[in-house]
């Protein structure tokens, strides 16, 4: 196997006396769909924040595309190709659906203050291209008919989808999804699983999925990492994970294993 896209090596982060993530080794290959699961408080979101540069690890290394990410600001990591959604949806509240997507495209464009003020030909070309690409993206997710409505007034499930569209607009190599199934009913979860698989195939990107809904993760991930109390307790295919006594103990308690 070639070098992984994302590589975490013995990553530890401490908040005062609390070790939130301890010696985490994890990797995501190109176009791979990897799951990161664990009970509440296991350190999943913290791991996410480490990967996206929101937190800096106390020790250990993170490499993205064979380049270390230590000290790199979140916006730069986004430009390098790491994009994400948020557990509690964070759309741009005052913007329309289209503007939410267009905003995420601005990092990839060479538009500057000068262009915006002079309004020359290149400016209009960039504007037209950005709008076209944003609409195309929205069309893929059949959100294009809502392009003029405020993002915040979409139904919950559509907001989640819009967040994924916005993340894709940055043209990522790796997409991090933070509990995308939170607050969804079983039908919506089913649709979400199909959507994630579709995104991965259509855009040829790697996806790292944080989730505590076992069904979703088991259903689509090729490989799963399990965290408990900040440590990785298991890694493997969905079948291996399902049978792993340590995972069952973490989720259901030791008694469930003994029984």
């Amino acid at each position: 196997m070639s070098a992984p896209l994302l590589d975490l090596e013995k990553v530890t982060i401490k908040f005062g006396g609390l070790t939130a993530v301890c010696d985490l080794d994890m990797h995501v290959g190109e176009r791979e769909l990897v799951g990161l699961i664990g009970p509440n408080g296991a350190g999943k979101t913290t791991a996410f924040n480490l990967i996206t540069g929101v937190y800096q690890p106390t020790s250990g290394n993170i490499q993205f595309c064979q380049k270390p990410t230590a000290g790199v600001k979140p916006y730069k990591l986004s430009l390098r190709g790491i994009s994400r959604t948020f557990q509690n949806i964070r759309l741009f509240a005052s913007m329309t659906v289209l503007d939410n997507v267009r905003t995420a495209m601005q990092g990839n464009r060479a538009q500057r203050v000068r262009d915006a003020l002079l309004r020359g030909r290149t400016f209009r070309e960039v504007e037209a291209r950005v709008e076209h690409e944003a609409m195309e993206l929205l069309k893929i997710f059949s959100l294009d008919q809502f392009h003029g409505t405020p993002g915040k007034s979409l139904p919950y499930g559509d907001q989640r989808r819009l967040e994924i569209v916005r993340a894709l607009a940055t043209k990522p190599k790796l997409l991090l999804l933070d509990e995308p199934a939170a607050g969804m009913n079983p039908t919506e979860k089913q649709q979400l699983m199909e959507l994630i698989r579709f995104v991965k195939d259509r855009f040829q990107i790697a996806v790292l999925l944080v989730e505590h809904d076992m069904k979703v993760v088991m259903g689509i991930c090729e490989r799963i990492n399990v965290l408990d109390y900040g440590r990785k307790i298991a890694e493997g295919t969905p079948e291996e994970i399902r049978a792993d006594p340590k995972v069952i103990a973490a989720y259901l308690g030791q008694e469930a294993v003994d029984a």
Binding site: P74, Y75, F86, R102, T103, Q106, V113, A116, R119, F123
Partner: protein, 307 residues
């Protein structure tokens, strides 16, 4: 669509200069107020870029206005007598630009350290910086200390004031309505999401601050050459708050609303001159009433983001 904005700018400037040419026909008192309105539009629209679009609550706009005013006035006071009358408008343009640039540099100096703060903390720090700037002018002998500068040439006319107001509106509107400029609004809406989307929040905030300070400096220069006197007392935090009120009343981030608010809030105190001592009470009550009935701003009809 094509070139619409530039056409607007050209027409607005021509109209301002046109009115200016026949301004001798108007009552001098009304003309003076009209020039004040133009200056306040510049102040409010430029502050709106910082407070409204980018969501950084700054209370130091009067400080940047003071920097621009003093710098421009000092330049015309020193160089004016050396130049022939025909060169005065050019000197004035240079002085305004100079004042704007120094104010922008002050904005950079204030912005870089303080923009890591948010909300009320930023408001307090900018308030402090604004006061520091004022106190520097108040104690500096070069700038006339507490008396301020007097005998500044009255070079500001309707054309300058409203022409530059049009330029300010053009710059802010064009900046915000662009792929680049959506970053300002993204930073206001959600800084964390913005940086996850490849937007550098610090850079956008500092840019907004520097551009805002630049136009505040221009407004200061116009003000100095309109009133012919500058005293540090005119740039205290009450002035900053006046500008903030215009932005809030017009609706944060709504350029058109902020312009109307600037016009109303400049004319209102003049209209109330008749009731002398109750003037400020009525003015305050009106603002309280407006805030209670339309907290989202007078002209905010909930279609933000549409261009």
């Amino acid at each position: 669509m094509r070139g619409k904005e530039k056409l607007f700018l050209l027409l607005a400037i021509l109209a301002a200069i046109g009115v200016s040419c026949i301004s001798s026909m108007f009552n001098r008192y009304y003309l003076g107020i009209a020039i004040d309105v133009g200056i306040n539009i510049i102040l409010a629209v430029s502050l709106n870029l910082i407070n409204g679009h980018t969501g950084q609550f700054s209370l130091g706009h009067a400080g940047f206005m003071a920097v621009g005013g003093y710098m421009a006035a000092k330049l015309t006071l020193v160089c004016g007598p050396m130049l022939p009358p025909a060169a005065q408008p050019f000197l004035f343009a240079g002085a305004l630009l100079f004042g704007g640039i120094v104010a922008a540099l002050a904005g950079l100096a204030v912005g870089v350290p303080s923009l890591r703060l948010r909300g009320d903390y930023l408001a307090i720090v900018t308030l402090g910086f604004g006061e520091i700037i004022r106190v520097i002018f108040q104690t500096s002998e070069t700038f006339g200390a507490a008396t301020g500068l007097t005998g500044i040439a009255k070079l500001t006319n309707f054309g300058w004031s409203w022409g530059l107001a049009a330029v300010t509106v053009y710059v802010v509107a064009c900046l915000v309505n662009s792929t680049y400029g959506r970053g300002f609004i993204a930073v206001q809406d959600d800084e964390i999401a913005a940086s996850a989307m490849g937007i550098n929040p610090v850079r956008y905030k500092v840019t907004a601050f520097v551009i805002g300070a630049f136009f505040a400096g221009i407004a200061g220069g116009l003000y100095a050459h309109h009133k012919a006197v500058l005293s540090p007392g005119g740039f205290d935090f009450i002035k900053s708050i006046e500008i903030v009120v215009m932005v809030i009343l017009g609706g944060m981030g709504r350029t058109a609303g902020v312009i109307v608010a600037a016009i109303i809030l400049t004319i209102l105190p003049e209209l109330l001159r008749g009731v002398a001592e109750y003037r400020m009470i009525i003015y305050s009550l009106l603002i309280i009433g407006l805030m209670l009935t339309r907290p989202q701003g007078l002209f905010n009809f909930g279609k933000k983001g549409a261009s």
